[in-house]
Symmetry: C2
Subunit: 378 residues, 2 copies
């Protein structure tokens, strides 16, 4: 990343009356940059440029204000990890402050590769041009690699577009990483040969710091068509690194495990749209998995709407990406969700696929038929 | 890490009446392992071993219960990243559930190196055997590497034991990493030569995924005596990796930036003692930086007590580590804090050191005199 002289904008929702909220906004400007009382900050460059600046401040509801604060790109050192630190590092430890938007000028955005595939790229890979896509997860943990591969084979025969490892499958003795990924990738290839379709197997590469890259390379070599990472565990920049490597060049799905606390607080943390949309895109994700409203997790319809917006909204040339709602979805809700999400969505159904009928392949076909009623042959 | 057949224990505080809290506990057992409805889970090994088990369940206050859940080590694949996923991955996205303790049997703990130095090791390095230690931070961002080094020199002359980079100093053009670390390490060495003391310079190596290791190796080579990482940004396992490398072998300070959301929720997330104590130790930190109560952050006295306990409590052979309270501390509070923390503590004072008098070196000496009144010559 090159350092430009431009500033980028972060919007914070701040709890309090006008005076106390403004003081908090002013405090953010210091806390996230110099971490020093203003009167001790040297005059000139540091005081004029390094300290954050309140660019606007306005009411945003009862006892809440919206402050847009700009930071010099210099503060980030042109580094995504330090960018995260500037927008939220110490503020994460304060209450009554929540990030609701980030806005980077093109001069900064052009240093981000963003998602390699995005919505258009994933549509090209799967051959599904104008309809929602389908995803399921291989589970439960404890099955052997062979059993998981058999499940993957059936899902692919049933017409699912993306078959991902459950996010808890890493390198357990019951299904070691290399064996699992090799067998699942082969099973999906075999099914594709039979169906003529382009189902993609997504390998979970969430792992210890020194294993992540090796697993990504192995998965690529073994024929996996995409990768999944839980950046709450690995750090967002690990995902960005993997997504950016040209010798890997596979679609990346981001999983929300260990990230929930960032969005659980009503008045602190990071908004759903920023975390699962904007930051996920900046970190290279092509699809963002999260628990849909009305399932077994507490996300609301409004929060899912925020995620959709974060996945779709204009951010320079950073590609738009797929929201991938899951988490306790079932087949009965497909029509409601088709209305809410329209076509640019990947529906993720896990256990729900097992309960419709005893015929698993038939259940997959039924799911597909519900989601793409006009595409029965695709 | 080798996989043993033993199980480890995680204590969750769960909000609700007895029935709903028990249901939530039962749900955790599934969500964190098989992520599958119980009736669909195959009988035998998976149902008997892989699914979490409620080992105890008891009231823990008004409308709250304490559930101790055991997991098979197999679920973690012997991997710290996956261990984090098992204890908190999807649960992070649920409300009314908070981790309050973790308890690993020795057979699992022996696979963790833990902190290389711990309290005893840092005391040996600094030569301060029985008193609290002193730390300060180089700031503000925007100073040149030379200016920061001059500050480090003065702090070291003034008798501070640990001089760390401010956590926002990474590789900004104003003070590029290599230049800053080289000059600061040299300045502290020069001061030590003059004073005969063993002040340690702690370089911040929080960086993008592919830069962390290189920065740690450079800092070591340049003469830094310790490293600081913000695992909220890099992932905890990055810290564990750096702490464990024998060709680095430097003390590691953990910084709480970007981790705050985990502890901000009263009824969700991770307790202060687990996050800043137990997990920090498992991830190799020798000292845990966090904002002290009564400063500019909202941590309470009880929460700081919890961190102390997490730093000190028995965890097999995993070393005890230093709590390092900072965040808006000032010199006036030293006597109160000496009483609260006793001797096994590193007091971190940043801006407070600048405000006592215009003579910065004298301010450092005054700080030291307050903290170690009986050691005026040390």
């Amino acid at each position: 990343m090159n350092i430009s002289e431009e500033r980028f904008l972060v919007t914070y929702l701040i709890l309090g009356d006008k005076k106390s909220a403004y003081e908090k906004a002013d405090d953010i400007c210091l806390e996230q940059t110099v971490e020093f009382p203003r009167q001790l900050v040297p005059e000139g460059f540091i005081r004029d440029e390094i300290i954050g600046r309140i660019e606007s401040f306005e009411p945003a509801g009862a006892n809440q204000f919206k402050a847009v604060i700009s930071y010099a790109q210099e503060t980030t050192a042109g580094d995504f990890a330090q960018f995260l630190n500037v927008i939220f590092g110490n503020i994460s430890i304060k209450k009554g402050i929540k990030i609701s938007d980030i806005n980077l000028p093109d001069s900064i955005l052009k240093n981000f590769k963003g998602p390699r595939f995005g919505i258009t790229g994933l549509r090209n890979l799967t051959g599904i041009e104008n309809d929602p896509l389908l995803c399921t997860a291989l589970k439960p943990m404890g099955l052997s690699a062979g059993e998981l591969a058999e499940l993957a084979y059936q899902c692919a025969l049933g017409g699912i577009d993306f078959i991902k490892d459950d996010h808890g499958l890493t390198n357990q003795p019951s299904a070691p990483f290399k064996e699992r990924v090799s067998l699942c990738a082969r099973a999906v290839t075999k099914a594709n040969y039979k169906t003529g379709k382009k189902c993609i197997y997504i390998a979970n590469i969430t792992a210890s710091f020194d294993e992540i890259t090796g697993r990504a390379l192995f998965a690529k070599e073994a024929g996996a068509g995409g990768l999944m990472i839980s950046p709450g565990i690995t750090g967002l920049d690990a995902m960005k690194y993997i997504a950016g490597r040209n010798d890997i060049a596979l679609p990346v799905f981001t999983h929300p495990a260990f990230q929930g606390s960032f969005v659980m607080g009503d008045n602190f943390g990071i908004s759903h749209g920023v975390l699962f949309g904007q930051l996920a895109r900046l970190a290279g994700a092509d699809a963002s998995i999260y628990p849909n409203y009305g399932g077994r997790f507490p996300f609301t319809r409004e929060e899912c709407d925020d995620i959709k917006n974060g996945c779709y909204k204009k951010m320079g040339d950073i590609k738009r990406v797929f929201p991938c709602p899951g988490g306790g979805m079932n087949l009965d809700r497909v029509s409601e969700l088709l209305e809410f999400y329209d076509k640019d969505v990947i529906f993720l159904i896990g256990a729900g696929l097992f309960t419709h009928s005893p015929d698993f392949i038939e259940n997959c076909r039924y799911f597909k038929q519900l989601v793409r009623p006009n595409l029965t042959t695709a």
